[in-house]
Amino acid sequence: MPRLTIDDLKKMRDQTAGAIALRAGTARARVTVHMGTCGIAAGAREVMAALLAEIERQGVTDVMVATSGCAGLCSREPMATVEVLGQAPVKYVNLTPRDIQEVFRRHVLGGDVVTESALAAGCETTG
């Protein structure tokens, strides 16, 4: 590693800040892949791998990826929920690795809901 100048230091900070931002709990969006037994059997692990690969390819560092249990609609797995900061969450169903990458590009990065794969927006009533 060569010795840094002030500019190098700033560049380095910008490159590395994202990876740490997730540890500090700051992110602009969160994608939850549902990993119940049903989801895993239907291919949720592959969907997750494809999602992570896409995030890596795009160089995005401020999107959280989380896993969660069965979303209750086992017949439509693999499922994922996309929550963009300040917007209602959207549930996607019957995802393939290619679909999740599409969702990531168009919804998370582009801001448009991918209607072909979307089930519904909003959350279930709880409490």
Binding site: I6, L9, R13, R23, A24, T32, M64, G69
Partner: protein
């Protein structure tokens, strides 16, 4: 590939001794076995503060805190939380008063009431990776100080922040830097920058934890000061009993050198500065500035009279700027965010005069009879009650609070009437204690205050260097009197003698170790005089601690002959048939109290 989740395993000294390295390795191998190693990253961080519940870890970005983990918990944790995203409630933390486990960090009072400035990176970065520190704005303050500020502006910013020395003295840091710079310019010599990491108070581990969790923050603070006062050479004086801290500091220094953040031409400028590490052998007195510098020079660690200050004539008679670990770690943030941000936390108005208040935060090691022992950082001005009852979770086993000891062995004990007092430099001093470096020992109603004073005076007697007579003989004599009182041999006049000796030591000792040494006696006399009187006049220890003054016996009416005390007794002092009341032979009894702890029917009495 980027990681979707980070498992931040605490690798502070406390958790390491509870097996956190093994735990981290077990998690890594379980992740590998489930093919998650490329999705989830295991990071070893510095102390996360909740030492009472170790080993602990945090899963991010979910913000879930797990504690008291065993290797056998790892498969469940990995499968349920990291694979399926279902946080495992039974492994989470349960506050002593809460009915159900609390899942996230922000809901746990221990974390919610804290304000992390010095410990901003604790639990978030891997202290052995400089890139992690840089990602959290590390060395940005140094870049700013080098590119945009003159040395005078740096000193002015520190002065305006009202930062006061966190090692105990509370001397305004900016004033110290300015004096040192002036002295160096005036004499035409190069000044020296020193970090005091010779933390010696019993029960204190603030500096140790700061270096273990974020060594670069200390280094960055020192480099900024070196720039401000014109130094090219610096030292970290650290005790050899801190192996993990020393190792991480050495790695951090090597990484900083490799990146050009230390050495010649720092960050491509013409500024040179480097830091060497010097190990102390563990003498308490070497935390005192002049003794520390004598030790740095290879001489016996003894203080000298300070009519000439070390900022003018310190290490090898050069102007020497010595600050404590925590003070250094504050510096980068003050430069980055400005003095106004720093003064927004704390008490008093320091805009005109840094002595007028206490700005910023303070790190404490919270120990003793408190549910959540650990390392905490709170804004100045928080009350003792908030620290002990909200953050600390109160006193274990429902016992009553009696006193809190602040400021290390030469601090003082404050009673419950002071619980609502704000914690800052001046309030603590006014109450007869002191901020010190930040040890905070909580005591319950089973603590004898005379015995506490005796314990601290015994520690200081051991650690007194013996150079000046008031300290050497004053401590020894105080210890004799206190020991006599706790043995029930106290006489009228003993208390007056203790007070007189305390006064002489405060006036006449050579260094702050000696002049503050009577504090444990003076403050317990001030607030708990009735306990001294009970020992001296009635030969009674109200808290039931002093062994010469207590006896145990078994209440024949309550004893159901369960035999638990017989098993617990190591000297065979208790005899009796099962299901019949037992008897205790006072000649054999060593008054350890094991029978009392073992009895479920409160049939063992202490008088």
């Amino acid at each position: 590939m980027a990681f979707r989740s980070h498992v931040l395993v605490c690798a502070g000294t406390g958790c390491v001794s509870c097996g956190s390295y093994e735990l981290g390795a077990a998690i890594e191998s379980e992740l590998a076995a489930r093919d998650l190693a490329r999705e989830v990253q295991v990071v070893r961080t510095g102390c996360q503060g909740f030492c009472a519940e170790g080993p602990v870890l945090i899963v991010q970005p979910d913000d879930v805190f797990y504690c008291g983990l065993k290797k056998s918990d790892v498969p469940t944790l990995v499968e349920e939380h990291l694979l399926k995203g279902r946080p495992v409630r039974k492994l989470m933390y349960t506050p002593p008063t809460a009915p159900a486990p609390v899942p996230t960090l922000s809901q746990i009072p221990f974390f919610a009431k804290q304000r992390l400035v010095v410990l901003r990176n604790r639990g978030l970065i891997d202290p052995e990776r400089i890139d992690d520190y840089i990602a959290r704005d590390g060395y940005a303050a140094l870049a700013k100080a080098l590119a945009e500020m003159t040395p005078e502006q740096i000193i002015q910013e520190i002065k305006l922040s009202g930062l006061r020395g966190r090692g105990g003295g509370g001397f305004p840091t900016g004033v110290k830097w300015a004096t040192c710079r002036q002295a160096a310019i005036h004499r035409g010599v190069e000044p020296i920058v020193v970090c005091n990491a010779d933390e010696g108070d019993p029960g204190a581990f603030m500096d140790r934890s700061i270096i273990e969790s974020d060594p670069h923050a200390v280094i960055e603070g020192m480099v900024i000061a070196a720039r401000a006062i014109g130094a090219t050479q610096g030292f970290v004086y650290i005790r050899h009993e801190y192996p993990i801290a020393r190792e991480r500091l050495a790695k951090a220094l090597a990484q900083a050198r490799e990146y050009g953040l230390l050495g010649r031409g720092i960050l491509g400028t013409k500024f040179d500065f480097d830091i060497s590490v010097v190990q102390g052998a563990g003498a308490f007195v070497c935390g005192e500035s002049t003794a520390l510098m004598a030790s740095l020079e290879g001489k016996v660690g003894e203080p000298r009279a300070k009519y000439i200050h070390t900022v003018e004539y310190g290490y090898k008679n050069l102007p020497t700027n010595l600050n404590n670990v925590e003070t250094w770690a504050n510096v980068p943030l003050i430069i980055n965010r400005g003095a106004a941000w720093f003064t927004s936390m704390g008490t008093g108005d320091v805009s005109e005069n840094p002595w007028n208040g206490s700005s910023g935060t303070k790190v404490f090691s919270l120990v003793g009879k408190v549910n959540n022992t650990g390392l905490i950082e709170v804004p100045m001005g928080i009350t003792l009650r908030e620290i002990i009852f909200d953050i600390g979770g109160g006193i274990p086993r429902g016992r009553a609070f009696k006193a809190v000891q602040t400021g290390g062995p030469s601090g003082g004990c404050l009673p419950s009437s002071h619980l609502d007092m704000p914690v800052d430099f001046d309030s603590l001093t006014a109450a007869g204690s002191m901020m010190g470096s930040g040890g905070m020992i909580v005591m319950d109603d089973q603590t004898c205050m005379v015995d506490v004073a005796r314990y601290f005076i015994a520690f200081l007697t051991e650690e007194s260097c013996g150079k000046c007579i008031p300290c050497r003989e004053g401590l020894r004599c105080s210890l004799d009197v206190l020991t006599r009182i706790t043995e029930g041999k106290g006489e009228e006049g003993d208390v007056a003698l203790l007070e007189e000796m305390g006064g002489v030591m405060q006036d006449a000792c050579l260094c702050a170790l000696g002049s503050s040494a009577p504090n444990p006696v003076v403050s317990t006399l001030r607030y708990f005089r009735d306990e001294y009187d009970a020992h001296v006049r009635e030969h009674r220890c109200p808290a039931g601690v002093c062994k010469a003054l207590i006896t145990y016996e078994i209440d024949q009416a309550k004893c159901d002959g369960c035999h638990a005390c017989v098993t617990a007794c190591s000297t065979g002092a208790i005899t009796g048939q099962v299901k019949y009341p037992h008897l205790l032979n006072k000649d054999l009894c060593i008054k350890c109290g094991a029978c009392m702890d073992a009895c479920k029917r409160e049939a063992v009495l202490r008088a």
